[in-house]
């Protein structure tokens, strides 16, 4: 597998940083190379947050931020598309938390050279967690569209980050999003 670079966009409190880490953890559990780190600074609830994951079969050395992502994951559809669309590669993937259809999103972002996937992660999170913390649902949706890591590795990573009922609820969110993402 060539190196896949993923950029996560959300708002403080939605768990974008944790999502980036879960994907890297899952990849490392599978023996792959991976890296995850937040774009630090605005760690305030509600402020735009950005995080990065890199996954590869080869060692990763760079520590530069991801400016030309293969994948952009948007946890919050109210973010400006100018922020999250920046640098997304032609042929890349945009995965967005929205009730809108794939065609509506394609029209909104004005790009026909990318793949768009949508999932209603907010409803899934409210249903499973009782709070609009959409990060784990977005991870579930991502690994369905782009199987860079296995679902069970994601679930293992979630069990490392959360315990008991919260882990269970997040695993539910992952599975529901995995099943309901469309592209």
């Amino acid at each position: 597998m060539p190196r896949t670079e993923i950029r996560w966009h959300g708002r403080g409190g939605q768990g974008a940083v944790t999502a980036a880490i879960i994907v890297a953890q899952a990849a490392i559990f599978e023996g792959k190379y991976a890296q995850a780190y937040p774009e630090f600074g605005a760690e305030r609830r509600g402020a735009p947050v950005c995080a990065y994951s890199r996954v590869s079969d080869e060692p990763i050395y760079t520590r530069a931020p991801i400016t030309k992502p293969d994948v952009v994951v948007v946890l919050d559809p109210t973010l400006s598309k100018d922020i999250y669309m920046k640098g997304l590669k032609s042929g890349g993937l945009l995965l967005i938390n929205t009730k809108k259809s794939v065609d509506e999103v394609k029209k909104m972002v004005g790009r026909d050279d990318i793949k768009v996937a949508t999932v209603d992660a907010t409803s899934i999170a409210l249903q499973t967690l009782g709070a609009p913390i959409v990060n784990t649902a977005m991870v579930g949706a991502l690994v369905k569209v782009l199987p860079i890591v296995k679902l069970e590795s994601v679930e293992k990573a979630i069990s490392e980050n959360f315990s008991g009922r919260i882990a269970e609820a997040n695993i539910q969110a992952v599975r529901k999003a995995y099943e309901s993402v469309v592209w």
């Binding site: 880490i21 890297a24 953890q25 490392i28 559990f29 023996g31 190379y33 991976a34 890296q35 995850a36 780190y37 937040p38 630090f40 600074g41 990763i60 050395y61 760079t62 520590r63 530069a64 931020p65 400016t67 990573a157």
Partner: protein, 403 residues
């Protein structure tokens, strides 16, 4: 010797530190939280709470007290650890000299962070470079794996009877402290503990049975000789650092040297830097090599004692050496702390490259592969026009252009 079994975990460099501290069976930890170091101590607290590490955790009211507490514990023979960054390291500054002057094998990690004012929680090496003359052995790591391995090595270096000096292990704040990556840690700490056996009897400690005084006044008749012993200890440390790293490599299969080189043998130009951005440099070198440029890289892993023999050897065939420093010595013409060192060791050499000093990543101003490509391009232009600047280039700063 117990056979070592590794487990591969996703860890950031802060957690890698905590695992190494646990595996070295540290007795006393005292620390005060500061971004981006905090999770080092949180993780150690977890290990103590769940019984994986039997250590005393002293909660203190400042970094000055944190280092003072571990100095006291080291004086009675305990294996000690603390961690800090930025202003915390500045607040410790007075005690840095006490730890080294008392010849106490304290180990400390630094998640390197820019200094105030203005406040920056982000990475540069202004804090680490300010400790240059404190007589601490200073190692700088570039991956979470190396952080884990180097902290283990640090205890062995510090406690070596030929050395008995404190050791600082630094790594990039945020860019490493908060970046998850794969790290092999020992499944069972026994082999690590065999590698760094505790031997408090190998040094003089405070003991009511054999009373000694530590840190009394030294009049002009003796102060100088005592400080000269530190000079000698640092010279011996140069060899001990290499010896411990080689022994670690033999035992555990990973070693790093005092400098690391990348594609340097046939290079005409090389970039030297330290810490995590060496990884970014490596990828930039691969890109430049594929377009035909003979570029190499050097990473400084040991800052004190300064590895002058390896540096002189590594650079003598080069036409140009670009030293990318991550700190500024204000008012110096060559303001990169490492560039200064390199120019001073090269001064008496007959075979040496032109040296270009550059400041990069100040306050975590982004450094990408493209920055290194552009820097090399600029350096080669200066070299060709025979006008490599005699002062530091402040790369990427707004309002100044070079060329």
């Amino acid at each position: 010797m117990t056979e070592v079994k590794w487990k591969r975990l996703p860890l950031n460099s802060n957690y890698a530190v905590a695992y190494a501290v646990k595996d070295c069976d540290v007795d006393v930890v005292a620390a005060y939280p500061i971004t981006p170091q905090t999770t080092v101590v949180e993780k150690i607290s977890e290990f103590i709470a769940n019984g994986e590490l039997d250590a005393e955790m002293i909660h203190v009211e400042s970094e000055h007290s944190a280092l003072s507490a571990v100095v006291g514990a080291a004086a009675v023979g305990a294996r000690v650890f603390t961690a800090t960054a930025s202003q915390g390291l500045e607040l410790m500054h007075e005690i840095l000299h006490i730890a080294s002057g008392l010849r106490l094998p304290v180990v400390m990690t630094i998640a390197a962070r820019a200094l105030s004012a203005p406040i920056s929680i982000w990475c540069d090496y202004g804090d680490v470079m300010n400790t240059r003359d404190t007589s601490w052995i200073t190692l700088i790591a570039s991956s979470a794996q190396e952080v884990y391995d180097t902290v283990i090595q640090a205890f062995k270096i510090a406690e070596d009877p030929r050395v008995l000096l404190p050791v600082m292990v630094a790594y990039d704040g945020y860019l490493m402290s908060h970046t998850y990556e794969p790290v092999y840690v020992a499944e069972d700490p026994t082999p690590i503990r065999e590698f760094v056996p505790k031997n408090p009897k190998s040094r003089i400690v405070l003991d009511p049975e054999k009373p000694v005084t530590m840190g009394p006044i030294a009049r002009p008749e003796w102060y100088y000789e005592i400080k000269y012993q530190q000079v000698e200890a640092m010279k011996r440390a140069y060899d001990v650092v290499k010896e411990v790293d080689a022994e670690f490599g033999k035992r555990f299969g990973r070693s790093y040297g005092v400098i690391e080189t990348y594609k340097l043998e046939d290079a005409d130009v090389a970039v030297l830097t330290y810490g995590g951005i060496f990884g970014t440099l490596r990828e930039a070198i691969d890109a430049m090599r594929s377009s035909g440029l003979k570029v190499g890289g050097i990473r400084l892993r040991l800052f004190r004692p300064f590895p002058y023999r390896e540096i002189v050897d590594a650079v003598k065939h080069l036409k140009l050496l670009i030293v990318a420093d991550r700190a500024i010595s204000y008012g110096a013409r060559i303001a990169g702390p490492v560039a200064m060192e390199i120019m001073s060791v090269l001064y008496r050499e007959s075979e040496k490259p032109e040296v270009m000093s550059v400041a990069v990543g100040i306050g975590q101003r982004t450094v990408t592969e493209q920055d290194f490509v552009e820097l090399v391009k600029l350096g080669l232009k200066f070299l060709e026009e025979k006008r490599v600047p005699n002062e530091t280039i402040y790369w990427g700063v707004r309002g100044v252009t070079y060329g």
